[in-house]
């Protein structure tokens, strides 16, 4: 298949169109504006709906409405806007309404800055909203994955009737790479027998998250839990690169994983046995894969564009048996680590035998 040179945000937007999404609601924020701008231009040609909302609170609830009617609907934003959507995410999860929410991460806390960051890892994987809920989180590391994972996000959202987060970052959104515009083959989805479109020929339907009856909410929460367990069992995705003989495994997701790969290649040249484990799903997290590596006695070096968030998941998965080092680069102008920076850390943490 012929490749085209495409910007990450635009690849994601076109993939949403190809995945059948025709409803976009959003509010401007850097560094994701290419997504709404692209869809504002393309949707009218396709009979789709692009609507610029009054706020991210408006956006996420418009998504809830369109999705309640059975449509594939999405929104995109960055940290500060995603914060405002947390209420909506909780309601979407509680009412079991699908949605795709894209976070092209900028840096925080507060207004922070617009450089690439991974400071929203906790928010995305733990849920910034209230209550007992989880959302699958997909972490692309290339323009190709901005494309591929968008299809997967819509698929998972519909399959599990749950909001799905795509956690990208400013670098992935803004850079151009060759893209193969392929359509993935995904298994058939369950029928949408829950949607609201008027009760013609059937009893009325209700989509809600309020359960006041004795024991009702407990039952509801355990049912959601069972769904999350199924997601954990079936939907873990990660990339393993040269880990078989590795003494040291770098764990990174998104943009830093690419930089780490360059560092690992150089380390290998220098005779160091180093590999990479790149989680593609941040929830569900590749716990078993990490635990197995820990059992094999490998040492870990976690690198992130923050002061240490995913490293907690690595420590939990690896348990006490493995050494886990952390190299963090919180965002700021020009603060992306270079392969040399990471190589230096690899040398510092490489286990002495």
């Amino acid at each position: 298949m012929k490749k085209k040179l495409v910007k990450g945000n635009e690849a994601l937007a076109q993939a949403a169109i190809e995945a059948g999404c025709r409803f976009y609601f959003g509010y401007p924020i850097t560094p994701q504006n290419d997504i709404p701008e692209y869809l504002a231009r393309e949707f009218p040609k396709l009979g789709g709906t692009f609507l610029q909302a009054e706020s991210e609170i408006g956006s996420i609830n418009m998504v809830l409405g369109a999705s309640a009617a059975g449509m594939r609907a999405m929104t995109s934003s960055s940290g500060p806007g995603i914060s405002l959507m947390q209420e909506g995410l909780s309601y979407l999860a509680g009412s079991e309404i699908p949605a795709v929410v894209v976070n092209v991460q900028r840096s925080g806390p507060g207004l922070g800055g617009i450089s690439p960051s991974q400071g929203d890892y906790f928010q995305a994987t733990r849920g910034g909203g209230h209550g007992d809920y989880r959302t699958p989180v997909l972490a692309p590391a290339s323009v190709q994955e901005m494309w591929d994972l968008t299809f997967l996000a819509f698929d998972l959202a519909d399959r599990y009737r749950n909001p799905v987060v795509i956690l990208a970052d400013a670098m992935l959104g803004q850079m151009k790479e060759p893209l193969e515009m392929r359509k993935p083959e995904l298994p058939p989805l369950p029928a949408k027998d829950w949607i609201l479109e008027g009760c013609q020929g059937r009893d009325k339907r209700l989509l809600k998250s309020l359960y006041l009856g004795e024991g009702e909410l407990e039952k509801h929460c355990w049912r959601l839990w069972a769904k999350y367990e199924e997601i954990k069992k079936k939907e873990v995705r990660c990339e393993a690169y040269r880990i078989e003989d590795a003494e040291l495994v770098v764990v990174a997701f998104g943009s830093p994983a690419r930089i780490a790969k360059g560092a690992i290649m150089e380390a290998r040249e220098q005779g160091l046995k180093v590999g990479l484990l790149r989680p593609i799903t941040l929830y569900p997290y590749p716990e078993k894969e990490l635990a197995d590596l820990a059992d094999q006695g490998k040492t870990f070096l976690v690198t992130e564009l923050n002061v240490g968030q995913m490293v907690e998941d690595v420590r939990m998965a690896a348990g006490r048996r493995a050494e886990v080092h952390f190299y963090g680069r919180p965002p700021g102008a020009g603060s992306l680590p270079s392969p040399e920076d990471i190589l230096h850390e690899i040398r510092e943490t490489y286990p002495a035998r």
Binding site: F23, F25, T49, L51, A53, E54, S55, I57, G58, S59, N61, M62, V63, L64, G65, A66, S67, A68, A69, G70, M71, A73, E87, G88, Y91, S95, L196, E197, G198, C199, Q200, G201, K204, R205, L206, L207, K208, S209, L210
Partner: protein, 255 residues
């Protein structure tokens, strides 16, 4: 069958579920529910209607209205309705919101849905208090009114003035109909029935955004009997929240 068989003059609307009410004695929600149900029946759109329930006592609309219903987060019903409206252009979309929901936490959503002229119908029930949470001060609480969070009476120096939503929304270009009614006595109820019908009709005719505010009693949180509460609607609320139509568009605006 006897020759003097009874004839039911006002049968239960099809859009209203036949179950006992759980609302407090003297609460007006049940009356407003019935008027909404009558309006939906009137246009023959029960099977094409989707309601958006909000947060507060009014959320229980979903138990009583015999249509599809989705629950919105607090104040967000107009945004949820916007999503539904865009997804289902030929359906009847309505929200049913209380004063805390619409006039406090949901001001952004209501103003922008109204301003966009979303062809939806918003039924706004104003009882000057947060009923479900136990009678706290609402944006529509009258000056001097004692609530659990204005125990000395609402003072404008501290809490500003009760907000008049029907008048406030009327000048927005997207609004096709904005009115206020009450259901404290039969004459008002009959007028309000017409206002609610019209707020649905402007949606059916695609004239724009339809809004109707209904003054409502909350005897439990006002510490009154149902009769005293209905009297308060007339004596205290109507003088500040006048009944009437503040905007009525007869044809679609294509400016």
């Amino acid at each position: 069958m006897s020759e003097t068989a009874e004839k039911l003059l006002n049968p239960r609307p099809e859009s209203l579920v036949d179950i006992p009410t759980h609302f407090c004695p003297g609460c007006h929600h049940g009356i407003v529910h019935r008027l909404v149900a009558e309006a939906i029946d009137h246009f023959g759109l029960r099977e094409k209607a989707i309601g958006v329930a909000c947060v507060g006592c009014s959320v229980f609309l979903y138990n009583y209205l015999n249509t599809d219903v989705v629950e919105a987060p607090h104040g967000r019903a107009p945004a949820v309705a916007t999503g539904l409206r865009r997804a289902l252009p030929d359906r009847l979309i309505y929200t049913y919101q209380g004063d805390g929901d619409l006039a406090a936490i949901g001001t952004s959503e209501i103003i922008h849905a109204a301003n966009r002229g979303e062809p939806i119908t918003v039924v706004f029930v104003n009882n000057t208090t947060y009923g479900m949470t136990g009678g706290q001060m609402a944006p529509t609480t009258l000056l001097g009114q004692k609530t659990t969070t204005s125990p000395y009476g609402r003072d404008f120096h501290q809490a500003g003035y009760p907000i008049k939503m029907a008048e406030f929304l009327a000048p927005l270009e997207g609004v096709a109909f904005s009115a206020r009614g009450a259901v404290d006595r039969v004459a008002n109820l009959k007028r309000t029935r017409k206002l609610i019908f019209r707020a649905f009709e402007v949606q059916v005719q695609r004239l724009g955004f339809g809004f109707v505010e209904v003054l409502s009693a909350c005897p439990t949180n006002w510490g009154m009997t149902p009769i005293e509460a209905a009297k308060r609607v007339e004596e205290e609320m109507i003088p500040y929240f006048p009944l009437g139509i503040f905007k009525e568009r007869k044809e679609a605006d294509h400016l």
